[in-house]
C-alpha cells in the first residue's frame, strides 16, 4: 500500500493533502523494506511553526483474518432500539466487567477442593516438624515406627509385655487376656500377644519402605556416613543412612542409601542433590528401586 502512494505523482502523504503547494518542495517519502519483514518509511512534513520535520516510521504489517457469519456481521450493524436507541456503539452503563475467574476443568474435581485442602495439610506438616519427637527404641528424633533399628532392637516396653502375654494366651481365642487390653475391642489374631502389625516377612531386616529411600551413587571412597547425613539432613528428616563399605579395607564402596521420613522431602532432596559435588566426585541421586522385578 505504501508503494502505491509513492508511485502516485503529485500525492505524497495523506498528512499533506490540504497544502499541495508546500508538498512540492518537500522530498518524496522513501520506503525501504527491512530484512525482518518491517518497512521503514522516511517522510517529511512542515509543522505548525513552518519548520520541516523528518519523520521515520518503522511499520510491521500483520494480516489478521477473522471469519464471521454474514448474519452475525449484519446484526452487528443493526441500529439499537428501545431504551438503547440513539446511544453510542459499545457497552453502556448496563455492562460491567467482572473480576477474573480461573476455570480449569480437572478430573476428580472436589468442591472447594484444591485451594483449601493444601494449606490444611501444610499446617499439619508444620506442626509435625515443630513437634518434639523421640524414638522409644533408639532415642532418635523420629517416630518409633519409623526407627531404622525397629527390626533389630525391640522396644523396651514391648519386650516385657510380650513376655507376660505370651504365657497367658495359649490359644488365639483368648484375645482380651492375651493383649491385656481394657477396651474389649476385637483384636485380629496377628496383632495379639503384643505382636507387631505385620506378619513375618521374607526380607527380614533388609526389606524397608523404599518409597522415601534414595540411592546415592558415585560417592567418594573416603566418605563417611556422618558426612552424608549432614548433607542430606538439609532437605528433611533423615531416618537412615547406609553407606556400603568394603569389609576388608573399611572404605566406602561408592554407593549409599538415604531414607527420609517424608516422601516429599525425599523427592526434593533427590532433585537438589543429584549432581551435587561431594569430595572430588559428582553425586548421582535417584529413588531406590526394588531389586527384583516382581
Amino acid at each position: 500500500m505504501a508503494t502505491t502512494v509513492q508511485n502516485t505523482p503529485g500525492r505524497t502523504d495523506w498528512a499533506e493533502d490540504g497544502e499541495p503547494e508546500l508538498a512540492s518542495v518537500l522530498p518524496q517519502p522513501v520506503t525501504t523494506k527491512n530484512k525482518d519483514g518491517t518497512e521503514t518509511v522516511v517522510s517529511y512534513y512542515l509543522n505548525e511553526a513552518g519548520k520541516k520535520v523528518k519523520r521515520t516510521q518503522r511499520i510491521r504489517r500483520t494480516v489478521v483474518k477473522k471469519r464471521e457469519n454474514p448474519r452475525v456481521a449484519e446484526r452487528r450493524q443493526w441500529a439499537k432500539m428501545g431504551p438503547e436507541a440513539n446511544k453510542p456503539a459499545g457497552p453502556g452503563d448496563t455492562t460491567t466487567l467482572g473480576e477474573n475467574i480461573i476455570f480449569r476443568p480437572q478430573v476428580g474435581f472436589k468442591a472447594g477442593g484444591v485451594q483449601e485442602k493444601a494449606p490444611e495439610e501444610e499446617k499439619k506438616n508444620d506442626a509435625l516438624k515443630k513437634m518434639q519427637i523421640k524414638c522409644r527404641i533408639c532415642s532418635g528424633d523420629h517416630f518409633t515406627t519409623k526407627c531404622p533399628f525397629k527390626d533389630s532392637m525391640a522396644a523396651p516396653e514391648e519386650g516385657t509385655g510380650e513376655g507376660a502375654g505370651g504365657e497367658g494366651g495359649g490359644d488365639g481365642i483368648d484375645a482380651a487376656g492375651g493383649l491385656g487390653s481394657t477396651t474389649g475391642a476385637y483384636v485380629p489374631i496377628h496383632l495379639r500377644n503384643g505382636r507387631k502389625g505385620e506378619g513375618e516377612r521374607m526380607g527380614g531386616k533388609f526389606e524397608r519402605d523404599d518409597l522415601a529411600t534414595l540411592r546415592v551413587t558415585n560417592v567418594s571412597e573416603l566418605a563417611e556416613e556422618q558426612d552424608l547425613r549432614d548433607m542430606f539432613e538439609r532437605h528433611g528428616r533423615v531416618t537412615r543412612v547406609f553407606l556400603a563399605k568394603d569389609r576388608e579395607t573399611g572404605r566406602a564402596k561408592g554407593f549409599a542409601f538415604v531414607s527420609y521420613a517424608d516422601r516429599a522431602d525425599a523427592a526434593r532432596a533427590c532433585e537438589r542433590m543429584d549432581g551435587y559435588g561431594f569430595g572430588h566426585l559428582i553425586l548421582r541421586v535417584e529413588f531406590a528401586k526394588k531389586a527384583d522385578g516382581k
Partner: protein
C-alpha cells in the same frame, strides 16, 4: 476468563437464551422487561417493553427475526427482534410458563399454567418466519393435559415429531406433535420434585432435564430412556448441554430463593457446575452469582455460556483455552489411537 456482567434487570432473571449463531443473548426477568445483548462485548442491543407482569420465558427463532415471550400477565407475545415491534399478543386464562420455537422456526408452542379451574395446556401455532406476515390467532393444535400432573416445561423434538413435556412430579412425557396424542411417560426424577428445565442437544435426539431432586438427567428423545445422570448437591434450576466437540454439561441451581437470606454465599452453592457429559463426573465450577442460578444457556457455537441469577445479573463467560483442551486420559488415548 473475565465474566461480563449484564445489569439491565431489576429483578430475578427467569430465562436466558442465545440466538442460533450465539451473537445475541435474550434475557427475561420478573421486572416485565425483555433485554437483548451482544454476547461478544455485553453491549445491550435493546429492550422489548409491553408485558404487564413478570416474565417466565423467552425463545428466539433460528433466523433471529422473531422473539417469543411469555409471562404472568397471561399473554404470549411475538416481537420482531430487529425493531422491537410487538407483532402479536395471545391472551390466555393463566400465565405462560414456557414458550419454544421448533427446530425449523415454523412452529411455536406455549405452555400455560394449571390453576384453579384451568388445566395445563400446550398451544401450538404455525408461524411464518417472515415478520411482515400476520401471526395466526388460532392455534394449530391444543393439548390439554388432564391425566398428567402440571406441565412445567416443554419442547419440540427433532423434525417436530414429538412434543416432550416435563412435569411437576419429576416425570417426562412424550406426545405426538401432529395429533396431540399422549405416547409415553417416564418417571425419571424423584417423585414430587419438579422438572425445572429442559434443554436440547444440537440435533434434538436427546435432551437434558434439571430437577429440584438435585439431579440432571440426559434422556433419549425417542424412548425417554435415561442415558446419564448428573448428581449435584443442591436443587437445580437449569441445565444446558455444551455443543460438540466439548463433552460437557452445565448445571445451575442453588438454595431456593426463600431460604437464601438464612445462608451464606458459600453455603448457597450459587455456582455453575460443569460435568463431563459421558463420564458423569464433575470437572469444575464457576462462582460469581449472589443468588441461585435460575437459567443457564450455552452459545450454540461453543464459545461462551451465560447464566441468569436470582440476583438480577446475567453473567457471560467466554471460555479460556483450558476449557477447550481438557480431556480425560481415555479420551486422549482414544484420540492418539485413532491418529495411528
Amino acid at each position: 476468563m473475565r465474566p461480563i456482567l449484564l445489569s439491565g434487570h431489576e429483578r430475578a432473571l427467569t430465562q436466558v437464551k442465545f440466538s442460533k449463531e450465539g451473537d445475541l443473548i435474550f434475557s427475561v426477568s420478573k421486572d416485565h422487561i425483555v433485554c437483548a445483548w451482544y454476547s461478544a462485548n455485553g453491549e445491550r442491543f435493546g429492550a422489548y417493553k409491553g408485558h404487564q407482569g413478570a416474565l417466565w420465558t423467552v425463545d428466539v427463532d433460528p433466523t433471529t427475526t422473531l422473539l417469543a415471550t411469555g409471562g404472568a400477565d397471561n399473554t404470549m407475545r411475538l416481537w420482531e427482534v430487529r425493531t422491537g415491534k410487538l407483532l402479536k399478543t395471545w391472551d390466555y386464562a393463566t400465565s405462560v410458563k414456557r414458550v419454544e420455537f421448533s427446530e425449523d422456526g415454523r412452529q411455536l408452542l406455549a405452555v400455560t399454567e394449571k390453576r384453579t379451574g384451568q388445566l395445563s395446556t400446550v398451544y401450538i401455532y404455525d408461524i411464518s418466519p417472515d415478520p411482515s406476515e400476520p401471526a395466526p390467532s388460532e392455534h394449530a393444535l391444543r393439548i390439554v393435559v388432564d391425566e398428567q400432573p402440571r406441565v412445567t416445561v416443554a419442547g419440540f423434538s427433532y423434525l417436530n415429531h414429538f412434543i416432550i413435556m416435563g412435569h411437576e412430579d419429576g416425570s417426562v412425557s412424550q406426545w405426538d406433535a401432529k395429533s396431540g396424542e399422549h405416547i409415553k411417560d417416564n418417571y425419571s426424577h424423584e417423585d414430587g420434585m419438579q422438572v425445572s428445565d429442559l434443554q436440547w442437544s444440537a440435533d434434538r435426539t436427546y435432551f437434558l432435564t434439571a430437577s429440584k431432586d438435585k439431579t440432571a438427567k440426559l434422556h433419549d428423545t425417542a424412548t425417554l430412556e435415561v442415558l446419564k445422570t448428573y448428581t449435584a448437591d443442591t436443587p437445580l434450576n437449569s441445565a444446558a448441554i455444551c455443543p460438540d466437540p466439548q463433552q460437557y454439561v452445565i448445571l445451575g441451581g442453588g438454595q431456593a430463593a426463600m431460604d437464601v437470606t438464612t445462608t451464606s454465599q458459600r453455603q448457597g452453592k450459587f455456582e455453575a457446575r460443569f460435568y463431563h457429559k459421558v463420564f458423569e463426573e464433575e470437572i469444575g465450577r464457576v462462582r460469581g452469582h449472589f443468588g441461585p442460578l435460575n437459567s443457564v444457556a450455552v452459545d450454540p457455537t461453543g464459545k461462551c455460556y451465560c447464566s441468569g441469577g436470582e440476583d438480577g445479573y446475567v453473567r457471560v463467560h467466554h471460555f479460556d483455552p483450558p476449557y477447550f483442551d481438557f480431556q480425560f486420559e481415555v479420551e486422549r488415548e482414544a484420540r492418539a489411537e485413532s491418529r495411528i
